[in-house]
């Protein structure tokens, strides 16, 4: 839907801001879980409460989630763990490996609670959702009350703390969420649409433009050079100037900040044009069989994703490389695109193509750090062109087999059935040395309660 026609739709009962300056017919909320990964871990481990906790990225590389106690120590997002060792010892920081099975389950619980508040939910990321609030204002004394109710329910049902921001555009809802998080007086809920203009103005004057959704480091520097430092400045910048200096995306951000909604809810994620499956190895990998196994596993995951969006692809890009940060080691990196005989989503065909590609680019004698595949030329399976020639990895037999494989893997866990599988242990698997149990997704891992 284009901008113009959405603005033309007359909607009744929309909370209008007190002054005309932010006239808009849309109203959004952004709900986001505070320190999501850390909060998930705390739900099942009360000993982590009030202690400094970080969650580390894949292979225990760097801090991707920090508790407030860790933020207070000045630890920045993405700090490598080895740089934190001294600080961690000094302050007793607990470091956990990321437990994606747990986070995914808790995230889906939060989303299903939010769906009880609005029929229009865009799951923006694992810990953030946009809600469309048009027409819902008559159900609540105010959207701030609705926000408090959401906060209370998510906390009681899942144990996770959330903040809610409300605004007449997605960009303002996100900014309102930021305000709710930073200012304790809002008690976790901030409605910029209902706020009096003077109060809103003074709040926005105190926020740097780097906090605005869509303003990256480079644009921030350019804007600052042009004298635009706060959100208030950016709101006041003329549209035409923003467009001529920074392009249409920034012009749109400026409009969104003034309360004119330009970005609609995306309730259904658009089909992906590319699917990448890759991972760094927990420890360097040298041998072709290990690399093959990793690549087959990546190709299988990518193929499963492809089938879940009902797509087919026509080529697979295979890449491997050594660790560029270990300059003392000999370096090698290479990639190759293997076109398929015909478009397909069959794991067997894609895995075979990936292995074929690997054999072409593999060189012995290197310590490989990463391998992966990217599916290319993705199109809709329904609108695929047929062929007169014999087709590989297509047709009823292939589709039936893949459907059965996906169903079994969904039901009994990942990799219950896989192609060319070889026995564990996987030397190339991710390093997750301090991972918490999968409390909510494995019978063997459910938490223990004492009866004594």
């Amino acid at each position: 839907m284009g901008r113009g026609d959405r603005r033309g739709i007359a909607l009744r009962g929309i909370a209008m801001p007190a002054s005309g300056e932010t006239a808009s017919q849309q109203i959004f909320a952004l709900v986001d879980v505070n320190n999501f990964y850390v909060s998930c871990e705390r739900v099942f481990n009360p000993a982590l409460e009030a202690r400094p906790v970080v969650v580390l990225s894949n292979n225990d590389g760097c801090a991707v989630a920090r508790s407030n106690e860790v933020k207070a120590l000045g630890v920045k997002m993405g700090t490598p763990w080895f740089q934190l060792a001294a600080l961690a010892r000094q302050h007793g920081i607990v470091a956990l490996s990321s437990n994606y099975a747990l986070y995914a389950d808790m995230s889906s619980r939060v989303v299903s609670i939010l769906r009880e508040y609005s029929p229009n939910v865009e799951v923006y990321s694992i810990d953030e959702s946009f809600l469309g609030l048009n027409g819902l204002d008559s159900l609540w004394p105010s959207f701030a009350d609705m926000g408090q109710s959401m906060r209370q329910r998510v906390l009681q049902w899942t144990g996770l703390p959330v903040c809610v921001g409300v605004g007449p555009s997605k960009t303002l809802a996100k900014l309102a969420n930021h305000i709710a998080k930073k200012n304790p007086r809002f008690n976790g809920v901030c409605d910029l649409a209902a706020m009096q203009p003077p109060e809103r103005g003074s709040l926005l004057a105190g926020i740097e433009i780097g906090e605005v959704w869509g303003v990256g480091r480079r644009i921030e520097a350019h804007l600052q050079a042009a004298g635009i430092r706060t959100v208030k400045d950016l709101r006041a910048a003329p549209s035409a100037w923003l467009r001529s200096r920074f392009g249409v995306v920034m012009e749109r951000t400026g409009s969104e900040l003034r309360g004119i909604s330009c970005l609609a809810l995306e309730e259904v994620a658009p089909a992906k044009k590319q699917i990448i499956a890759s991972r760094s190895f927990g420890q360097p990998v040298h041998a072709l069989p290990d690399l093959s196994e990793a690549l087959v596993s990546h190709a299988s995951r990518a193929a499963e994703k492809l089938r879940s969006q009902d797509g087919i692809c026509s080529a697979i890009h295979v890449f491997i490389h050594t660790n560029p940060f270990r300059s003392q080691d000999p370096q090698y990196s290479n990639s190759i695109v293997i076109p398929l005989p015909n478009a397909s989503a069959d794991t067997r065909l894609l895995a075979r193509a990936a292995l074929f590609g690997l054999q072409k680019i593999y060189r012995p004698g290197y310590a490989y750090k990463k391998a992966g595949v990217m599916l290319m030329g993705i199109s809709d399976a329904q609108s695929a062109q047929g062929s007169l020639l014999l087709e590989h990895g297509k047709g009823q037999r292939s589709e039936g087999l893949m459907k059965a494989m996906d169903a079994l893997n969904r039901r009994y866990g990942r990799q219950t059935i896989s192609v060319f599988a070889s026995a564990a242990p996987k030397s190339w698997a991710m390093r997750r040395e301090n991972m918490s149990p999968c409390y909510t997704t494995r019978w063997s891992d459910v938490p223990v309660v004492h009866a004594r």
């Binding site: 619980r109 049902w157 009994y412 866990g413 909510t440 063997s444 009866a451």
Partner: protein
């Protein structure tokens, strides 16, 4: 001569997703006469799913494993699986999961005349009594227990 062969369950853990696939056990109202073309079809009502019996609010429901025998009076035994619902407001008489000394503990909640007690359901264990200003951290309300027998 018939032999009893041991039935081995798979050692692999299975996912306990909030919406695991139901395990349908069709409820038949009539016996099926052998050799007759399935007259029971029309009587198959619905499938029984233990999830619907045990879980009222799956978004707020979590499972815990019991260690210990302080709740045997409430038919909660060592090794049982507890179904815990966080959306229920804990009240007097509920069996609850409380957090005590950073550990999860299962007890019966007693709340009379402003005095809160967490009681074991086994005379061998003492009750925990809380003073007026103490905070009792209740994690959730226990709505069921599941046992499996070694066979």
């Amino acid at each position: 001569m018939a032999n009893i062969l041991p039935f081995r369950s798979t050692p692999q853990p299975r996912p306990a997703a909030p919406s695991p696939l139901p395990c349908p056990l069709p409820l038949l109202l009539h016996r099926i006469p052998a050799g007759f073309p399935s007259p029971a079809d029309e009587y198959a009502e619905s499938a029984l799913d233990l999830n619907t019996y045990l879980v009222r609010n799956k978004t707020a429901t979590f499972f815990f494993r019991v260690i210990g025998d302080s709740m045997t009076g409430a038919n909660i035994h060592d090794g049982d699986l507890l179904v815990v619902d966080r959306s229920i407001e804990p009240r007097h008489g509920h069996i609850v999961l409380a957090v005590i000394n950073n550990e999860y503990t299962v007890k019966r909640l007693h709340r009379l005349n402003g005095v809160i007690e967490l009681r074991a359901d086994n005379p061998a264990y003492p009750s925990l009594r809380f003073q007026e200003n103490d905070e009792v951290q209740i994690w959730g309300v226990v709505t069921g227990a599941v046992s499996r027998f070694a066979v």
